[in-house]
Structure formats: C-alpha cells, structure tokens
C-alpha cells in the first residue's frame, strides 16, 4: 500500500511504532485517570475562588454571586458566577469564548482563558488555613 514510502526506508507501521503506541496509550491513560481523580478528590480545596492573570492574583471570591472581572488596567475580561459550589463564565471579551464553553468547574477544576492569560480556580487549602502551627514529624 505504501510501496514508495517503503522504498525510501519508511514503512507506515513498524514494530517500534506499535510499542510506542502502547507506551503512549498506557502513560496518557494513567495520567488521565490520575487527573480525574485529583479533580474529584477536592479535599485540598476551599470554597474560595482565585482569578489570576499572567500568574498574578487579581481577584478573590469567597461568597456566591456574580462578578465582573477586570485586569489591573481596568479592562473588562469576563463575567464570573459562583454559586458556592461551582464557578462558571457567562460572558467574555475574548474571541474564542473558551472560558464560556468550559462550563461549570468545581473544586480541583479550573477555567482557563489563553487569550487573556487568565485562570479561574478554587483556592488551595494551605497548612496555615488548617491551623497547623507545628509539625513533630
């Protein structure tokens, strides 16, 4: 079928390809299962939302409601909703509307807007949040 490719020393599928496919499948499937497990194991997340632009925290939400998010320069970025359990976006200034299409994100999940370099995610609980002052081990 791919005679010319073979003549040039390039078969369509070799034994190494099958082995590689197996490795890619096992690794990606394992990582996918792990990512779903992390998303669902929401014990390390609080009920607060953090909005970051380019890594810098610009907004914090602790209560349910609707917020308009603007960057440091005052430019409108997005309209955010939080019902106390999940967060979602209903309007955005970017052309892709990826954040709107992402839907509702729960603890462990995130809403990413690449054009605005923005990430909306649940705040992680740190040791200080849990009141841990000292560890003996």
């Amino acid at each position: 079928m791919f005679d010319l490719a073979e003549r040039r020393g390039k078969v369509f599928l070799s034994k190494n390809d099958v082995l590689l496919l197996l490795i890619v499948f096992v690794v990606t499937s394992t990582l996918y299962i792990w990512s779903v497990w992390v998303k669902n194991a929401n014990t390390s997340y609080s009920k607060g939302i953090v909005v970051r632009v380019g890594g810098e925290e610009i907004f914090k939400i602790e209560e349910a409601g609707e917020w308009q998010i603007k960057n440091r320069d005052g430019k409108y970025l997005t309209t955010l909703h939080f019902d106390g359990e999940k967060v979602w976006v209903t309007e955005s200034d970017c052309p892709d509307k990826i954040c709107e299409k992402t839907g509702r994100a729960g603890p462990g999940g995130s809403i990413i807007c690449v054009p605005n370099r923005m990430i909306i995610e649940f705040k992680k609980i740190t040791d200080s949040d849990q009141g841990v002052d000292i560890e003996t081990w």
Binding site: F2, D3, L4, A5, R8, G9, K10, V11, F12, L13, S14, N16, D17, L20, L21, V24, F25, T28, S29, L31, Y32, W34, S35, V38, K39, R52, V53, G54, G55, E56, P95, D96, I98, C99, K101, T102, S110, I112, V114, P115, R117, M118, I119, E121
Partner: protein
C-alpha cells in the same frame, strides 16, 4: 504545501474538539511528510509558514494561542526530522512522537503565558485524542508521498 496547510489550519478551527480551545492538528500532516521524506529545513520552513499564514487568516496572529501552536509545530518538525534519520520508526511512529512533542511544548508555552501549571491537567486527554490525529496525519503523509512519488 504552505497554502494547503494554512487552509487546513483555518478550516479545522471550526471542527469541534472535545477539549475547549483545542484543535485536531491535521494541518501538521505536511510537516510530518517533509520531516519523514525530505529535509529538516523544509519541515521547519513549512511549520513556521503555515503557523504564520494560518493565524493571519484566522485573525489569531501573536495571540498566546498562536505562540503555543507556533512553538509546538517547530518542536514537532525538529523531533520528527531527527528521528526520521534513525529509521527506528515508521511514518505512524514519527507522527505519534510529533504529536507528543507538539503537545508538551504547546502546554509548556501555555503554562508560561498563563503563569499556572493547571493547564497540564488537560494534557493527558489532549494526547489521547491526539493519537487519532497522529494516525490520520500519518495516513495523509503516506498518501502524499505516494501521489508526489507517482508524479515524479
């Protein structure tokens, strides 16, 4: 080849993809073809040209998404071309490695731009879906070689 890749680049933007903001990556089949059957310089030139022209046509030039795709495509051209010289893999294997390197570099650039590693949570699913693109691209690259070979 630049024209075909650029048109596919723009057209696949309207094809639904299960991960928001993601693309199937079929415009990379000619980059794979040149990596496997020609020189690295040809594959690199096409990777750069189709990213630039495709993003100009789709109005996404110099956006964060453009930089992710641009560097991902260059990485795929480089890795595929180097491994094509070794004859360790067939066209499908090269396509698979190209897909993996493209996605890793894209997500790395994305994480730098967003300033968060949370984006990596999407990487496994994108790679699982990318395996189908890798198969399709390998088939298209082999068919291109057959057609061009018959013409020569």
């Amino acid at each position: 080849m630049v024209a075909v890749s650029s048109v596919v680049y723009v057209a696949e933007g309207i094809v639904p993809f299960p991960v928001p903001g993601g693309k199937w990556g079929f415009s990379n089949f000619l980059v794979l073809y040149l990596s496997a059957f020609s020189k690295f310089s040809d594959a690199l030139l096409l990777a750069i040209s189709k990213s630039l022209l495709g993003s100009i046509l789709s109005g996404s030039i110099f956006t964060p998404g453009f930089f992710m795709g641009f560097f991902g495509s260059i990485a795929a051209a480089l890795v595929q071309s180097v491994l094509a010289k070794t004859n360790l893999f067939g066209v499908f294997g090269l396509s698979l490695i190209g897909m993996v390197s493209n996605n890793i570099v894209q997500f790395f650039v994305g994480s730098l731009l967003i300033g968060s590693r949370a984006i990596y949570m999407l990487l496994p699913l994108v790679m699982i879906l990318g395996t189908f693109s890798a198969l399709a691209n390998a088939y298209l690259a082999s068919q291109t070689q057959k057609i061009i070979g018959d013409m020569l």
